[in-house]
Symmetry: C2
Subunit: 471 residues, 2 copies
Amino acid sequence: MPDLNETSDLNRTPELDKTLLAVDQGLDPALDRLFSFLKIPSISTDPAHRDACRAAAEWVAGELAGLGFAATVHATPGHPVVVARTDTGAPRRVLFYGHYDVQPVDPLELWETPPFEPRLGATPDGRRTIVARGACDDKGQVLTFLEALRAFRASRGTVPVDVTVLLEGEEECGSPNLPAFLAAHAGELGADIALVCDTGMWDPGTPSITTSLRGILHAELSIEGADRDLHSGLFGGAARNPIHVLSAIIGAAHDASGRVTLPGFYDDVRELPAQVRARWASLGLTADAFLKPVGLSISAGEADRLVIEQIQSRPTFEVNGMFGGYTGAGTKTIIPARATAKISFRLVADQDPAEIRAGFEAFVTPRVPADCRAVFSWGEGARAFLVPPDSPDLTRAARALEQEWGVAPVTIGSGGSIPVVGQFKDRLGMDTLLIGFALDDDRVHSPNEKYDLTSFHKGTRSWVRILDALA
Amino acid sequence: MPDLNETSDLNRTPELDKTLLAVDQGLDPALDRLFSFLKIPSISTDPAHRDACRAAAEWVAGELAGLGFAATVHATPGHPVVVARTDTGAPRRVLFYGHYDVQPVDPLELWETPPFEPRLGATPDGRRTIVARGACDDKGQVLTFLEALRAFRASRGTVPVDVTVLLEGEEECGSPNLPAFLAAHAGELGADIALVCDTGMWDPGTPSITTSLRGILHAELSIEGADRDLHSGLFGGAARNPIHVLSAIIGAAHDASGRVTLPGFYDDVRELPAQVRARWASLGLTADAFLKPVGLSISAGEADRLVIEQIQSRPTFEVNGMFGGYTGAGTKTIIPARATAKISFRLVADQDPAEIRAGFEAFVTPRVPADCRAVFSWGEGARAFLVPPDSPDLTRAARALEQEWGVAPVTIGSGGSIPVVGQFKDRLGMDTLLIGFALDDDRVHSPNEKYDLTSFHKGTRSWVRILDALA
């Protein structure tokens, strides 16, 4: 690999080696700090955990102050936003974004150990792991960056770039208050480039830079029928059942080929450039290979698309939760008064959340009987995002990752959604590099979430190399 | 109304008047006893209320012992069965069946007052009511019979027929242990006729004798996909969503005309005799009139059927509850691992629960993707029941009701299901008279369940007249 050797020689310096050594020697105390962070049950979507969210914000702000940052915990109508910055007069400034909040932990009974009692574990194939809610998403990933800053400080006394750290506490519930915060603090948040560590690697040995993200739009739909739950014997056969109505709507939202049937849903979806599709096809990812780790084998997506297209460049309609009527133990012979579906759309290319919203309402309304009601509740929505492939910082970061991992990073899209990235572009005029060390088997958003110890350790080393390269 | 006057003269006796007077004079203490019964939260389907079910059984057994009955609380694998009997050597014996268990109370927030703190209330049109879970179904109705026995004892020292009282505590969860109990106690439960007070009146001024019941079959269907909840961004578009699969199945179970599409579902359904259909049509019950009290106006049933047919002589497929994925506050971007529907079928005529079960499984199985699983859980099921229209006791009871209410009772079917009635016929060779005083606005199985004070008072007087007529 002549390229690799050449770039290695160019990039290896005594200072860099000193800082990487500081990372290696500081791994145990770094893990202790991560465990302290993981013990805070900062579930942002659940009002009962409001104090825990503030505690997590205070904890991370304290860590940053300890690293010489001017750190502030800003109150918002929701959970606090942490902003911390250095002002050393370095030639360049990076804005690092992450989130201290985590997903809910239900179903709790599926956790092998309590979600907020972090522990070391191992995968069946022997990789050492950190197990806890947030181990990967996003507390573990956030600390890879903070520990890199700590290693610079320990080895050189300073970081080669000025850094602004922005950590929010509402990413897992749609960041309702972040847009207003960015608008109000645009001045202090400006930087040359934004860095986000909330994405994954291609495989345990191959790093990745995420060059596209799907947008997202949340909706809740309730179908309301009778003004009370009805006895299914006395009214059954005549009274409309909202669960039947809602099920028929959800059941009709995809056709037999896996295509979403909402009107205009694909109007603003772009076809992949031929060479991109060819490159993705060359990766040879089959549905069986992609789904086998989670116990599935057949793609539910559009039959004429590559699996990578289905999860990265194609939009989705997904019911994340549904409930209606009696859901307890045993039986209850009722026709319920209402049924509800929690829905999210993943958006791509030029899809406009407002048009998707209109299309869904146009799809639902004619399917609701005249004596029932459809009640919609909508989130703000975020468009999809694409990183310019010719960004010089993208090239620098890719080379730095190749140094650390010994293989060039895969630059590819992600099916996930990080709305803030679009806001950085729109409100702060900044491009974003999405670099993360999550793996497909991290069980993000699921019981027994984990983060590989290697992701944490080499992720920290990767940030050292990237910040050095960006300087 | 010459018939009425004639029969009145024949039936009015000093003894009867004395006993009816005892009912009127004893109404207040009777209400106190009903309130004591209603305060016991005997929710049979919820294991957390096991002790309350036993307490309800002990309470009613105590009442019967106080009335001179030999009362026993029989343990079963589930909740106890109360059996009490008199042996005065009267020429005839009746078996009275009821249940002391009640439905769950969720959604609790919709109750205007706590469900187990009974109170007197009033309907918008001024009818006085008793409000509590079980006020009607079935504690209030059971006490109309017990208070009639009390009035006989107070006025004559004895009841003109021998009485066996059978009260179970699992009617609201499918009576899983009753068939075995009836088989084991067939000898002591035999009687000339069975009486059940768990049905309704035609309207607040018109009594009714229920001459047919729908059968019932409970099922639970879970669709299982991935072996964990998945991140809907990383897997969305490729991974199968069990909520989508289950919704498509439920959505396809009825066609646009309201007909159930399960294979063979209507094979054993009998057409109504022309004169019965004509009589039902003459009652002029429209969908709007039937559904308006619960906030609906359009029938969801088979388009070519009378509303009375839809709710009494036609079978149903009903989802009583459905749940899957995230159902808490806020959002959670997952593809759930499973989704579940709690289903009940109402059966008519010759429908066989075993054949309905086979038809549903045959309907579901081909609709489940090869990498997902359908998990079925089935109840025992009960066939529909029909009372012989020429039963002499039916005629006697009808006349007694006419005496009390001043109008002849409507003899008609009920869409509800009381499986024990079929078991009385099959195991004890006994016909059953289904006579109850519930009203359509009693909110049975719903928040703010009530029972009209008139139903309680004149219901008790009705049993006095009926027992006198059956003697």
